[in-house]
Symmetry: C2
């Protein structure tokens, strides 16, 4: 028992262990590397490979690649997956891939080049290859690619005793299953029973009578993001997948759904910030530039709109140069307000808490909040303007411009993603650029326009 | 079977159903409301309550509150939870709460006022109240609050047959369980066996021999965010919770961990945008202002730093007014670059992919990417400057300022969250404000400073 705890402590990937691994790699001490990595979970070994530099990674793989198993491969981030697969001797790759369940092979294949895919497909046994190729026939990011094909089914009229006897005799049960799926004679799922219920019910109980109310199915062509939503919304543990004819073709378990949810969040966060949605901390500088520069160039052009607006007021600025110093305050505070409103709206769209039912009320809420925030900020900024410059006209211009821009920001933050969603686009995509362009342009225009009218 | 599918279709919360419910509420037609809501999952009814306006919500609750069950209450978002609890007749509340598992009661209580907590605690049976009060004794957002106390355990020396016989005889098994936890005589967990394995193994197999390699435990005082990380990293389905003495006190299941993961993401996204981390689309305008105005005021002051920097160069601007129009381009593009770098860093910190092992390399990567992005943007902007203004000095100033600010943005985006993390603070908190302040100040300073040296 104490042994168990000691083992548990031992299984952590921490800095001392990473340092020790790197030392052992440098010394070419294969036995030490083995001893250090052996107790780690495949996911932690994958993290280690991601966190060390490319040089160390190559050295570690040279020394240790014979130990790599399929689970490590399927845990490795897309950013370095091709590199690692390339570094492996073909026989190691073949061995590793044969260990995997077909859904993990599909997950592994998706992010590889055509030639690497071929090597892996060739490595599989015939039955598995056919299964993988069938899964790859479903659309990318669909339930069909996410599901495992091995299911545990029972005819709907069976009793608990029949199910238990059947399970006892089965030799090829999947590694993971939490329900017995009840099917009709056409293999259409009609319900499921948790294993806990099977175990705690009398042998003569009908499976149908103890099946779960939460039962739902998804289509193989459904988007995996929708599947993750359903798991989270309805607290599912597993969910049968059916084809267009309603026949059972596989099952998705919650651990895969949790993974998808996590990736969807990552995508939202990165897209909102204008980074390619595959950005990873393990990317090299060139990949990083490739992901970021396009949006920066777009922003260069949208920022030129602000410059164009300001240039219309050069005469005003020439007359009162202090305006040039003050104008970014209105624009920048608007940008922050727009980002706030945007984050709440994008999140609510992702969780389906912002729908047609409440869009109108949310927009009105933003409008009101924008007016109130604007008034609060206008009071502070206007007062500062009066106190510092001794000019209440300038204070009024600052305050009024602030109110206008806060309202624009609050509305823009919710209307831009709503519009993108209505157009069938991802509301997180490019929203940030649109909204800050809007608040910059309106901030400069309102401030300089009001200044031209009231101060000149 | 076709019936099953029809039922499934029927269970969706869509716009027509929301409209129909609101109509029935307005007509005071309780039977129609019942018929419309009855097929819905509790989570969908909670969503409906969140999405309709406060007036409709009160009317719906008046008409329908006798049907509210505990599951709906525990699904309702914090933003309207107090309001709903307040609107319920006490006997309905008492009835609803008694249905719930103790971990759901804890979850419900956490976000309520003291007096409302009292009402609910009083409603519970003695044993449940003690259990809930014990759970509330654990720190907020800890594993102890998240866990369910009902566990299914077996002595470590039992066989499969003994476990099955025991489960058969148990009358009080939890609603949800996926493993039999093996414990030693001191109730310390030493392993677990999946129910699938129990069902498919011979009766005389030792449980110990078929226990899972993935076995891990968490401490009751561990942060729930860490628990969610462990579930996602190691693909756990359930995880025993132990006290300081290593004794089993409860179990956490993956559906709760998935929920925590989802909330952690929400928190990161909202904090990064400078919104209180409890912001919800159902908040009223006053709550919205309360969440957002503080950060806007902070930004008002940080933006004044930019104004201060610009004001130092008023003589330069007075000499060449076009500079006032051009300066926001450099600052704004820097802000976007900082946000990009920040999003990748905050996400990587949250998933523990950015650690001491690779921080140095990631910072160097950002530096290099910043230089390359800066060169790319400088070429475009510099050329535009030369072409439009026919002044290669101005083009050079624009280009150089852009390179400086891109490097500052890329470094700031990763160093600010790393520093916050090192200080034990949430790296998402306020990072956005720090980084954009940095890029604004540096953008204006570099551009106007270079202009003063090279153009005047």
């Amino acid at each position: 028992m104490a042994e168990d705890l000691a083992e548990a402590e031992d299984r952590v990937l921490d800095q001392p262990r990473i340092d020790a691994v790197l030392e052992a790699v440098e010394a070419g001490d294969r036995a030490a590397v083995d001893a250090l990595l052996e107790p780690l979970h495949a996911a932690d070994i994958a993290d280690l490979l991601e966190q060390i530099g490319p040089g160390d990674r190559r050295a570690l793989l040279r020394l240790w690649s014979h130990e790599i198993d399929g689970e490590i491969l399927s845990e490795i981030s897309e950013a370095i997956r091709e590199e690692v697969v390339e570094a492996l001797p073909r026989e190691v790759l073949v061995e590793a891939v044969r260990d995997l369940e077909t859904d993990d092979v599909v997950d592994l294949l998706e992010d590889l080049d055509e030639p690497q895919q071929e090597v892996i497909l060739d490595a599989l046994e015939d039955a598995d290859r056919v299964a993988v190729e069938q899964a790859m026939g479903y659309p990318e990011y669909s339930a069909g690619r996410l599901m495992q094909r091995e299911t545990v089914v029972a005819p709907e009229h069976w009793t608990v005793g029949e199910a238990i006897d059947f399970l006892r005799k089965s030799e090829n049960l999947p590694d993971q299953f939490y329900h017995v799926i009840l099917v009709d004679p056409r293999m259409q799922p009609v319900g499921y029973v948790t294993l806990g219920r099977v175990l705690s019910s009398p042998r003569d109980a009908a499976l149908r009578a103890i099946s779960e109310e939460s039962f739902r199915t998804v289509q193989a062509t459904d988007a995996e993001a929708d599947v993750a939503y359903i798991f989270n919304q309805y607290h599912l543990i597993s969910c049968p997948v059916v084809d267009a004819g309603g026949r059972l073709v596989g099952v998705i378990t919650i651990d895969d759904a949790m993974n998808v949810l996590d990736e969807e969040h990552e995508e939202d966060m990165l897209r909102l910030a204008g980074v390619g949605d595959e950005a990873s901390v393990s990317d090299g500088p060139v990949d990083t530039v490739r992901q970021r520069l396009p949006w920066l160039v777009v922003n260069l052009f949208t920022a030129s709109l602000s410059a164009l607006v300001i240039s219309q007021f050069e005469a005003t600025i020439a007359a009162i140069v202090a305006l040039a110093a003050l104008m970014p305050i209105v624009a920048s505070t608007g940008g922050i307000a727009g980002t706030q409103s945007l984050a709440v709206a994008v999140r609510a769209l992702a969780t389906r808490d912002l729908t047609r039912a409440n869009a109108g009320r949310v927009v009105r809420r933003e409008l009101l909040a924008g007016v109130m925030n604007g008034l609060g900020l206008a009071l502070i900024l206007g007062a500062a303007g009066v106190l510092i410059f001794g000019d209440w006209h300038l204070g009024a211009v600052l305050g009024l411009a602030m109110i206008v821009n806060q309202v624009v920001a609050a509305l823009g933050g919710v209307l831009v993603p709503l519009t993108l969603e209505r157009l069938g686009l991802d509301p997180a995509l490019a929203s940030g650029t649109f909204v800050t362009t809007l608040t910059d342009v309106m901030g400069f225009f309102a401030f300089l326009g009001l200044a031209t009218v009231m101060l000149i």
